[in-house]
Symmetry: C2
Subunit: 123 residues, 2 copies
DNA sequence: CAGTATCCATCGGGATACTG
DNA sequence: CAGTATCCCGATGGATACTG
């Protein structure tokens, strides 16, 4: 289905890691969860301006499948679901830091803009 | 057109880096060039079993656009074009090593297969 | 609030054939 | 050898409406 993770065969480790981070918002989700520790669905939505509900839940599910995020349901009214990183998620994030630095360097080189986050969260 | 690099705006450095490595074969191309120093078109083809000429040249062009690879044309008969990494390509590769280790770990965890490289290069 | 369900546009990527 | 040029398909991702 929408489970896009191939789970191999892979050419190498980078291939295997990319498989899991591929997807427009996954690295951002990782980042959000890493910095807030725990986030609710709506909080993540607000943190990722431009993401649709469908893509958000789809990515979260895949990342849960891949053992990166933990999903905790609090059975109350109104519903409350909290997402957080597993240890694998945390270590993946750590592994991504050097890549992040390289990317930041690149942004400086090419003079790339940063996404402007409006308070309403729209484009 | 097929120039898929967005060149911003980006959410963060990881976003910017992923933009440049996105594409089914780019990280593998990086790897190949890093380990062989310099490779010809046909050599890369053989090194990436399953890649089509179209995707290979497309990725190479984008990576050249992004300043990751250097393309050297030797005007002779038969034609000879050599690809190699620029310093930015090399540093990107370095930034990817920790991710590669994480991915290798993951492969062990989930028991993923490695791509088998047949001598003919087919699947 | 936290999703599900559809429908739809786009794009990455593969196969194949042709060229300088 | 090193590409170009087309055609085509499936996956990815977006918009919108509905539900427990």
């Amino acid at each position: 289905m929408a489970t896009s993770a191939r789970r191999g065969p892979y050419f190498c480790g980078i291939d295997a890691a990319m498989d899991v981070v591929a997807g427009k918002w996954k690295s951002l989700i990782l980042w959000e969860l890493h910095h807030h520790g725990t986030r609710r669905f709506a909080e993540l939505r607000r943190g990722l301006p431009g993401v649709s509900e469908k893509m958000l839940i789809q990515h979260l599910r895949e990342m849960k499948e891949d053992g990166l995020v933990h999903r905790e349901v609090h059975r109350e009214v109104p519903p409350k679901v909290e997402y957080s990183l597993t240890e694998h998620g945390v270590s993946l994030n750590t592994a991504l830091t050097s890549l992040g630095k390289w990317g930041a360097e690149r942004m400086r080189r090419i003079g790339a803009e940063k996404v402007v986050i409006t308070d309403s969260g729209d484009k």
